[in-house]
């Protein structure tokens, strides 16, 4: 069989593509199906990074398992593809070990809210300085279309072949209640809004959560006879309304029902590390060395200390009081 001919050569595609700066082009083509919404989210994420003028070396992307879990493997940042549900605790460790990083978790609804649900609410409670982007396609795509904690009531899935009888999570309400300080929702039709929202979330100090409603054409759409990707866009176009500041108790999504979207929550609260440092400064005082300084700051301090004391060892590093 002859290789198909394209207007753009393979080499040009890999180097000249406007996304080449952000993607591991050597890994293309990706695994996502035609009509899938994940690619839109990746593009919006890249656009937000570009617009924000961030140092791309200081951005890390962490994903869990599933279709959206594959994002980490395609983006040209320090990136980690972890185990199912564990992107948030991994990201927590990464951020706390190296606080100068902007750590972004991109994963799916099954990964973040089912197996990883406990981690989601605790990271929100701690106001851990992470941006979590949840691509919610109402289904486990990679394993073949099973029901998830966000599948609307009555929708069909391979494990609810007679329709879903469980009550789904309304994710903005969940993370708001758990303590998230930035909460937004969009659909994958609203690419420019997603970009803008990710930009705001990256600037936000603390736990920011963006839910993107996106179609799974191969499984969710087909099993529920909802047509293809274009039909999903039509649905989002007709039934999604911007309701900035809406009470998150009111934004649940029924089967093919109205979708409230916008920035629901944006409130200031001390991040986890700010809380750690503020608290220790209060109770320990001047002896406490602020945790999470940048390596440059640490090095400068160390050199200042060395030149003051004439030696480089930290007397507290081991030993301590015997008991």
């Amino acid at each position: 069989m002859n290789a198909p001919e394209y207007a753009v050569s393979d080499a040009d595609f890999r180097t000249e593509n406007p996304m080449a700066e952000f993607l591991r082009m050597e890994r293309m083509p990706h695994i996502w199906c035609p009509g899938c919404g994940i690619g839109t989210v990746v593009t919006s994420f890249a656009e937000a990074i570009k617009a924000g003028g961030y140092d791309m070396d200081k951005i890390a992307v962490v994903s869990g398992i599933g279709c959206t879990g594959r994002v980490a493997g395609y983006v040209r940042f320090d990136s980690f593809h972890t185990t199912h549900g564990r992107a948030i605790p991994f990201a927590t460790g990464l951020k706390l070990a190296n606080p100068e990083l902007k750590v972004v978790v991109i994963s799916g609804d099954g990964d973040l809210t089912s197996i990883g649900g406990n981690h989601l609410i605790h990271a929100a409670r701690r106001n851990m300085d992470l941006t979590v982007i949840c691509v919610n396609n109402f289904t486990y795509g990679m394993t073949g279309g099973q029901v998830t904690p966000t599948t609307p009531n009555t929708a069909n899935a391979s494990t609810t072949p007679y329709g879903n009888y469980e009550t789904p999570f309304s994710l903005p309400f969940l993370v708001d209640a758990a303590g998230a300080t930035f909460v937004a929702r969009w659909t994958s039709l609203h690419a420019r809004n997603i970009t803008q929202s990710i930009g705001q979330a990256l600037k936000h100090k603390g736990f920011s959560f963006i839910e993107v409603i996106a179609p799974c054409t191969t499984l969710y759409q087909r099993r529920n006879r909802l047509g293809d990707g274009l039909d999903a866009m039509q649905y989002y176009h007709d039934d999604a309304d911007i309701q900035h500041g809406a009470d998150t108790r009111t934004v649940d999504i029924g089967y093919q029902g109205k979708i409230a979207m916008g920035k629901f929550v944006d409130r200031p609260r001390a991040t986890y590390l700010e809380a750690v440092n503020d608290h220790y400064v209060n109770v320990i005082g001047d002896d406490y060395e602020l945790y999470g300084k940048t390596p440059m700051e640490k090095k400068a301090e160390e050199e200042a200390r060395k030149s003051a004391s004439g030696e480089g060892e930290d007397p507290k590093a081991c030993g301590g009081d015997d008991d």
């Binding site: 320090d78 081991c318 015997d322 008991d323």
Partner: protein, 372 residues
């Protein structure tokens, strides 16, 4: 100080400044010590929502540039198993201590056991190797914590300290040497050209790839999927063979360098008692009494249990009448001893379901049986 506190001090001495953990009896004192000491030494302690989150946050912190440790006991150790596989697959240096208590399930939370010795070796799914050390005293908790960090950095592998409730809560004198006298192996950081960096090196375990951390501009990828040297998923049987062979051979082919044992009177012995951890200290008494009674008895203490000292047992078996293996479990490491002895001598298991250390008389009886 007690063994649990000594573990925390050993970790701090080795340069560990990050500890994500979850409380569980009888290991909690280590987490508490860390929580107390961290603000004094520029470290960070975080109590996570469960053991899964704890060990996962630790892996994240390693890739953020820290040396990390967590501590747990049986039920928490079971929860960590999947992520231990991720740590092996991502070749992440880290230290995990299991202060063993009686299981299965919630079991006897406050009583001693050595029942997780096989779980640590085989507990996560798939083929992999780890290193496991067993301290028999609070002093050794300190010393082996440092050693565990060093081995984890050299081999880019999770290293386990398989202590137990008795050692964990036993108070003894612990000598902490001056910092300058403690041998600490630092991470092997990569410093070549950025474009040439490969987070993995699959050469059948001959060498271990140097590491970088996120934020240094290498923009590398790491995954729990089978991957190539760039860290990119590569789902082929050929690459799977390369990865697994490397993970196993980097430990197996260096087993001689890793394994530490302590022996006493093996030459000319008719019976050898093979033991580890707290059980070794009980075995000493039985060996002394047997020697007084005129029996030729040797003692072999395993400080490194995994990788197992196969050669040592293979060489010993034809020269002795019997090997006696007391353990605070229903017979776990005795299976390895039997395998390596290959029928060349009797192997006598002195098992205990845990909860209390052996009575030396039980071990003595087995020695006498072996000498017949």
């Amino acid at each position: 100080m007690d063994g649990d506190h000594a573990l925390a001090e050993g970790a701090l001495a080795a340069g560990c400044r990050f500890f994500a953990g979850y409380p569980i009896t009888p290991s909690t004192e280590t987490a508490e010590r860390f929580a107390e000491r961290c603000p004094e030494v520029g470290g960070l302690f975080i109590q996570m929502e469960d053991e899964i989150a704890s060990i996962t946050a630790n892996i994240g912190a390693v890739w953020g540039g820290q040396k990390v440790m967590t501590v747990t006991s049986g039920p928490g150790f079971s929860l960590m198993m999947e992520t231990i596989g991720l740590a092996c697959m991502m070749e992440t240096p880290m230290v995990v201590a299991d202060v063993q208590r009686v299981g299965p399930s919630t079991g006897l939370p406050t009583l001693t056991a050595q029942q997780d010795m096989m779980q640590v070796r085989w507990g996560s799914h798939g083929d992999y190797r780890i290193i496991a050390l067993v301290p028999d005293s609070p002093q050794e908790c300190f010393d082996l914590a440092v050693e565990a960090f060093n081995l984890s950095e050299i081999y880019r592998v999770p290293v386990f300290i398989m202590t137990d409730e008795t050692v964990g809560h036993m108070h003894e004198k612990v000598v902490i040497p001056p910092a300058a006298e403690i041998k600490v192996v630092e991470r092997n950081w990569y410093n070549g050209p950025k474009k040439d960096y490969r987070p993995y090196l699959y050469n059948g375990g001959k060498s271990i790839a140097p590491m970088v951390k996120a934020g240094d501009g290498y923009r590398f990828h790491s995954t729990g999927l089978t991957h190539d040297e760039r860290g990119y998923p590569s789902l082929t049987p050929e690459d799977s063979k390369k990865v697994i062979t490397h993970l196993i051979e980097k430990i197996d082919s260096n087993a001689d360098k890793i394994i530490r044992t302590e022996d006493d009177g093996l030459e000319g012995a008719d019976v050898v008692v093979v033991s580890y951890g707290i059980t070794s200290r009980i075995a000493i008494r039985a060996v002394q009494v047997a020697r007084k009674a005129g029996l030729k008895v040797g003692a072999l203490r395993l400080i490194t249990v995994w990788p197992f000292c196969e050669e040592k047992i293979r060489n010993l078996a034809p020269k002795v009448k019997a090997i006696v293996v007391p353990e605070l479990n229903y017979g776990q490491i005795v299976l390895e001893v039997e395998r390596c002895a290959g029928g060349k001598c009797k192997v006598i298991s002195v098992n205990s379901c845990g909860g209390a250390v052996h009575d030396p008389e039980e071990i003595l009886a087995a020695i006498k049986e072996g000498a017949r």
